[in-house]
Subunit: 292 residues, 2 copies
Amino acid sequence: MEIRTDIKLGDCKKILKTLPDNSVDLIFTSPPYADQRKSTYGGIHPDKYVAWFLPISEELLRVLKPSGTFVLNIKEKVVKGERSTYVMELIIAMRKQGWLWTEEFIWHKKNAFPGKWSNRFRDSWERLLQFNKNKKFNMYQEEVMVPMGDWAKTRLKNLSETDKKRDESKVGSGFGKNISNWLDRKMAYPTNVLHLATECNNKNHSAAFPEALPEWFIKLFTRQEDVVLDPFMGSGTTNFVAQRMNRNSIGIEILPEYYNMVKEQLVPTQLILLESEGEYEATEHKGHHAVR
Amino acid sequence: MEIRTDIKLGDCKKILKTLPDNSVDLIFTSPPYADQRKSTYGGIHPDKYVAWFLPISEELLRVLKPSGTFVLNIKEKVVKGERSTYVMELIIAMRKQGWLWTEEFIWHKKNAFPGKWSNRFRDSWERLLQFNKNKKFNMYQEEVMVPMGDWAKTRLKNLSETDKKRDESKVGSGFGKNISNWLDRKMAYPTNVLHLATECNNKNHSAAFPEALPEWFIKLFTRQEDVVLDPFMGSGTTNFVAQRMNRNSIGIEILPEYYNMVKEQLVPTQLILLESEGEYEATEHKGHHAVR
DNA sequence: GTTCCGCATGAATCGATAG
DNA sequence: ACTATCGATTCATGCGGAA
């Protein structure tokens, strides 16, 4: 199995046109918010945000497989004491464009940015808007099951310490149906609220979102060797996670600094993969899986 | 100090016209969601929801004091596999009406409704939309400070009726000093995510939201003897909490069953207040505080 | 008095069946 | 083809009865 991590330098509005129709299983991205990152995208004014984004989302609609999902991480900023409405307008406009607005997940940030204002509290949540092309789409719910709440209190008492550990390790590896049957009563499906911490201490750069965020959606909406796309790659979190999880991925970034940084970090990983390839090649002969 | 709890039977669209301009400090309400609670309320079609609500919000805009706040608890339902957009459209329409959309709080429900579907998880959050007339409004942030760390466990945990009474008695008897000590180092301002459980096991009726929800916003946006309004009173949760917290309140309910139920529950409380009035009248002579 | 278990019950949603 | 109704699914919570 060869996993490709394809990163591209340039404006995603143009680069996306080079991608074939119906070729991506999951789009996970966090676009520049309005009036932020002024230096890179020229600072999109909140009033012009929808008009700026629609041509891009049109391309995304084209490249996404009918069974695929688009997860958009976004949060409106405060302008003159008010929340902007461009996210609301974007949802309405994207529906007219042909997208289905399936769900809105909430990312509840455990460690919100500190601060104090006279007329508002700290903002500790962001939207994760799920869009689809069809009412039917791929969703692998078992992959993101969580331990039941009561389980810890009632069942754990009777179990030995080894039982607990064994259980957890199985969950982490995320095998298939055997385990889900075994776990039938001890695991529960999650809700549409994700309670994750932000990663503030990344090595070189500050990631816009923690790795656990794309990881959760990649688990939920893709299988191994599927294709993940992030048209606003930034520091490449989505792509690194996808690679680690054996998913092909495409990343597009307009800023050379970010692009080069991701590129340099990708190389050693690929080398490691090539080294280990020999070992596995002997026992398993998996077909070449191209991105397109 | 005499606290009035004024409940009115009828359509809030009409009743609201009888209230004077700029007379309410906080509006906290949870209107019937679109096409939900059909058996009790009519059930407004999602497509007609905005048109139905705008005349009401126009009256609310009129009766609210310039320093006041309107908190709207709402959540869109799923129609044919998609989230409806009427809440988005309502926000946009209310801004055109003159409201400022100051903030969106998230109510993260600990006990979400159960269920399993192939294409979505359980919905465990609702919106609490904060609207204002002016950029400057009354906000008493210190009142809702929480112990650092686990605020859900201690402060906002759902309390049984006996626990509440015990808690109140503590507050009444020199509990203040302990709190002020805690305030020094161990209290923090909350964020815009509220983590509460729904109260599904009330005695006579099912409350749409837990008492802790209006309590939090009443603390945050009003002081004692201020006026709280709930134009969709329902089981009267907002008004009971307001009364307990020494706030005047107005409740409007269209269904006689609910109206009468609230009325009956209010009487004993008022009698208790009248009984104790004699004792306090001798030492303190507080002025009559009318609702309007 | 405690602690513990059983049980009913929610602003739900989907898919099948029925008219 | 459209709407209306119904059953199945599922989990945190708090009350009541029991040990």
